[in-house]
């Protein structure tokens, strides 16, 4: 048992499968131009996590095949212990870590982390209330309203068909109402149509088919993901968008700029002046801010031309195991590998003995 799980019979197939999967993911990403496709089919697939688990078992058991340990095993043990810590750190980060984004315009502040590609329903009747992740067929109640997601179409488009006779949408469409020429307010209603999934998964905009019940009254709506306008149902504004969480830090964006190569329009660098809990900091392309709580903020994207109010996307990352598992694990791997490199080979021992 220990011989199989700790031996090459498991290591070699694991390595071969991993190499094939990574090659396939690289090919898939190259063909579709979509990193999300590679993530969905390979890197974030349960099978890939199973492989990681098997690596852990393989390394653990192979360590015990050396029992009883001797002084000469130290480099081998350090390398294997380091690898185990790294894999454990990756697993803890996957389950308990945070990986999201923050989107801010110049002059704005926020403490909300958005988790792209997740799907949640948000309702506003006074204050915004956040929903749990959506599960098709599973109802949930919020006040007097009961929501039942009937279906989530992977891609579609939405149209506001009555723009011709409206003067303007109140609050840019975010108030849920538009004003007609007569002055009458009409609730915004989107007509969303499901479409085939685009080749690049990142371009897909899901549609939620939602059933809403209030007492004996019922309504059905097709909500477009991250729609620029909001729809009111029974007096409640509804948003179908990524899930959000509260970050421990408040980020304020003062200014963002793209620095171009002199005399060209080729971007050379990006810069964002932010305040984290009122402490000023300048984020550069490869300069990260790490807060006291261990949250790391990276500058990932700047949108807007010169002379426009810029929108910045910050990548937010929290890895609870970084300092206790992953980094020490990496150090142990390096140390163990160096010791293995300079360790005397058995032939060296023989030479020394014969010299004596």
């Amino acid at each position: 048992m220990i011989r199989f799980f700790g031996g090459l019979y498991l290591t070699v197939p694991l390595l071969v499968i991993t190499i094939l999967l990574v090659a396939a993911a690289t090919f898939l990403e190259g063909q579709t131009g979509s990193h999300a496709a590679a993530e969905g089919w390979v890197y974030h697939h349960p099978f890939f996590y199973l492989l990681l688990g098997l690596y852990f078992v393989n390394i653990l058991f192979s360590t015990f095949t050396r029992w009883p340990f001797r002084k000469s095993h130290i480099p081998f043990l350090l390398t294997h212990l380091g690898l185990l810590l790294v894999i454990l750190g990756v697993a803890i980060k996957g389950f308990f870590g945070v990986q999201g984004v923050m989107r801010l315009h110049e002059g704005e502040g926020s403490h909300l982390i958005i988790f792209p590609k997740t799907e949640g329903l948000f309702g506003k009747n006074g204050e915004w209330r956040f929903s749990f992740p959506l599960l098709v067929g599973q109802s949930f109640q919020d006040g007097e309203l009961t929501y039942t997601p009937l279906e989530i179409f992977p891609h579609g488009e939405g149209n506001w068909s009555r723009s011709a006779e409206t003067i303007y949408m109140l609050d840019g469409g975010k108030a849920g109402y538009a004003a007609e020429e007569t002055g009458k307010l009409i609730p915004i209603s989107f007509e969303a149509t499901p479409l085939p999934i685009p080749e690049k998964i990142e371009d897909a905009r899901p549609i939620l088919h939602l059933h809403i019940q209030k007492g004996d009254e019922t309504e059905k709506r097709m909500l477009l993901y991250e729609s620029p306008v909001l729809e009111p149902v029974f007096g409640t504004l509804l948003k179908f968008q990524p899930l959000v969480a509260r970050a421990p830090n408040h980020i304020h964006l003062h200014k963002a700029k793209t620095i171009y190569r002199p005399g060209t329009q080729i971007p050379e660098s990006f810069e964002a002046k932010i305040s984290v809990d009122e402490e000023p900091f300048t984020l550069l392309m490869n300069q990260v801010y790490e807060s006291k709580q261990g949250y790391r903020y990276y500058l990932s994207h700047i949108e807007g031309k010169a002379g426009e109010v810029k929108e910045v996307q910050l990548a937010v990352n929290f890895d609870p195991a970084k300092y206790i598992l992953t980094y020490p694990g990496g150090l142990l791997v390096v140390l163990g590998s160096l010791l293995l490199l300079f360790k005397k080979k058995p032939s060296d021992y023989n030479k020394s003995k014969s010299a004596i």
Partner: protein, 177 residues
């Protein structure tokens, strides 16, 4: 890295400053570089937009901050730049660039003519800001920051002045939607 160091070094000689608005309400916050003497306009309510909210002096240089009440539309920054350039009888040597900060968008003009220097910045609040402060029009005022003096002194202070302009912001955040 060099930009951060430059910015951090600069912060060492900046001091926070709050400016009272045209209607007598505290409106802007900015970082004044060291060595500038503040001359407060001796009025609580300033009705004439030609009068500055506040003036600063350093050597031959004089910096003035003006605000222009918002009445449903902004004064385009291009109009302010054209007005400033018209003051020069002959076409001067000048540079204009677009910029944005703290929810504002605008233009910065640098002029050099006959040994005299001029720096003018004209800013208006962007659409998101105007929407967020629609019930507080005094916050939506346009503002200009003008510095005049000898060309050599202005050139010497140019980086500090640009950081000074960059530091101007409202004392509260635009609501994130």
């Amino acid at each position: 890295m060099r930009y951060t160091l430059c910015f951090l070094c600069f912060l060492n000689f900046l001091s926070a400053f709050d400016v009272t608005g045209r209607e007598g309400k505290w409106l802007y916050t900015l970082e004044v570089p060291e060595g500038w003497e503040t001359i407060q306009t001796p009025k609580e309510v300033i009705n004439d937009t030609r009068e500055p909210l506040i003036t600063w002096k350093k050597g031959s240089l004089e910096a003035r901050l003006h605000s222009f009440p918002y009445r449903g539309s902004s004064i385009p920054a291009e109009a302010q730049v054209t007005r400033w350039l018209k003051k020069y009888p002959t076409e001067p040597l000048y540079e204009v660039f677009e910029t944005s900060q703290a929810g504002y968008t605008g233009l910065v003009l640098l002029v050099e003519a006959n040994g005299e220097g001029f720096l003018g910045a004209a800013f208006s609040l962007g659409e998101r800001g105007k929407r967020a402060f629609r019930y507080h029009p005094e916050v939506c005022s346009d503002w200009t920051f003008v510095v005049k003096g000898t060309a050599s002194e202005l050139q010497h202070e140019k980086t500090a002045l640009l950081f000074w302009i960059e530091s101007l912001q409202l004392p509260f955040e635009i609501l994130h939607d």
